[in-house]
Amino acid sequence: MFGLRSLVRSAITSGCNINHQQTRNTFILKRKTPVPLHKKGGKPIKLKGRHFVYDLVEDTNVKRKPDVKVILNQFIDGVGNKGQVLTLRPHQAYNEYLVPGLAVYASPQNLEKYDANEEKSTTESNYSSPYVHRTIGCLSRVILQITMSKLEPWVLEPWHISTSFRKSGFLVPEHCIEMPPAQIKGPDLTLQDKEFYVTVTINNTEKVNVRCRIHHWATGLDRLPWEEFHWKKPKEALFPEQAAELEKMPLPQ
């Protein structure tokens, strides 16, 4: 019979080592009246009613539980790269990362396998920052309306593009903007139903093409009539070499 204990212990310790600290996440009770001692090796004393009167020592359900460490096993947009160690609240770690399979537990084996440690964060990766993927997604969906004068002559310059970006909610410095191959001059109403793209460089690393359209602006009688859902309508490419690239970029539905 006593051989069993060692057997079970060996079975328990044969696996990989875990922290053997007990977790009690429940009602912890204590008898108000202790049970009297029984003879050595004898039967325990029969419990009476008074031995069932309990005091609540602690309710661990309302206690704050320690954070859980997980390792990402893939790049997650806006979170981190593969092999990054995250320290999260237990329910968040469990429900959002471990159960969907986006991360694994930070066990010694996994730390070794993913070559992860606390200090390592976003140093080696495909992207220059965890948020780049999201920014690329946002910029590639944009149709940039560049408002130019219908009456005054102009030449399209990077600061025009930068201003149009600012109007649509993106702060893009001029040095990040790569202009189209040829100069665009106006006012020229044939540009109204043409489109082209500019290339924006993010963090001096990632490049993304942004679809641009020129709108001729004037007031009074010169104002062009409003076109409904003009952003949904496909338009002709201004430069034939950009046509193939523009075909690939999706229009909003």
Partner: protein, 281 residues
């Protein structure tokens, strides 16, 4: 945790031994593999969940200086039927009294664990399961770095629920067969097997076969095995064989046909119904 075995002097003495459940009727033929599981499940004392056990063997009384042994009497737990449909992580219902006011009579009270439904992910079975758990189960899973590690590393007495035991058995069977659920991805299959194969060393195939069976299920399994082992042979076959042999020994000509052909005649004979109507016969 002094000892997880409940043993008394009487149980250990060889002079008189009370008949246990393994000594009565068909149960006496249960294999050692099942007895091992039974001990792990019912004889071993479960871990202290609802009370804080005192450490050590002895303690000194603060006031008198008297040395007294430490005897941790566990708080009796109630196991409702629902416990077997979820994974409560060793928690159970405590039935007792509260003394809310020193001048009033004690009040009956049930301490019931807070249950929630969530999803657990089993790597070996390559599946997600929706189960009823407690907070303690989730933190145990987190402490063991995964659901499979938790099940495989925890003895049956702490798992308590039938669901957990059946899952553990299923996982062990899966491991024993080399994770066939990952057959579409041999590399992943190898990884999973390497991670969990250490647990297989503590079980033999027979022990896995008898693991996680309730008392009734084990008896049914045994009865079925016995029934399959000594299946009764119809006496008519034996008599027919004897007769053919006797006739052969006597050298009678008509018995040159083989016994198989004779047996085939019975099927033709059985179609005859002498008591039926004329056109039926």
């Amino acid at each position: 945790m002094a000892s997880r075995i409940q043993a008394t002097a009487r149980q250990l003495s060889k002079a008189y031994k009370k008949k246990s459940r393994f000594d009565i009727g068909i149960a006496s033929e249960l294999p050692v593999a099942y007895k091992k599981f039974w001990r792990e499940w019912k004889v071993l004392k479960p871990a202290a969940v609802h009370y804080i056990p005192q450490e050590g063997k002895w303690k000194r009384d603060d006031l008198t200086g008297e040395i007294l042994p430490i005897q941790n009497i566990p708080i009796p737990l109630k196991h409702p039927a629902e416990i077997h449909e979820g994974l409560w992580g060793g928690e159970a219902v405590v039935k007792g009294f509260q003394k809310r006011d020193p001048r009033r009579r004690r009040v009956p009270h049930y301490w019931v664990p807070v249950l929630k439904r969530t999803v657990v992910k089993s790597e070996v079975l390559n599946t997600h399961l929706s189960v009823t758990v407690t907070d303690r189960t989730i933190s145990l899973i987190n402490d063991h770095y995964g659901f499979d590690h938790y099940l495989l590393k925890t003895p049956a007495c702490d798992l308590v629920s039938m669901l957990a035991l059946k899952l553990k058995k299923q996982i062990l069977i899966e491991l024993m067969n080399g994770c066939p659920r990952y057959s579409h991805d041999p590399q992943r299959q190898q990884e999973v097997y390497e991670e969990y194969k250490t647990y297989l060393t503590s079980y033999t195939p027979e022990e896995i076969e008898w693991y996680g069976l309730s008392w009734y299920e084990a008896l049914c399994k045994l009865a079925k095995q016995k029934e399959a082992a000594n299946k009764p042979v119809p006496l008519k076959n034996m008599y027919r064989k004897n007769l053919v042999e006797k006739l052969k020994a006597a050298g009678i000509e008509s018995t040159k046909t083989s016994p198989e052909e004779i047996s085939s005649t019975t099927s033709w004979l059985s179609k005859m119904n002498p008591f039926g109507k004329k056109d039926e016969a």
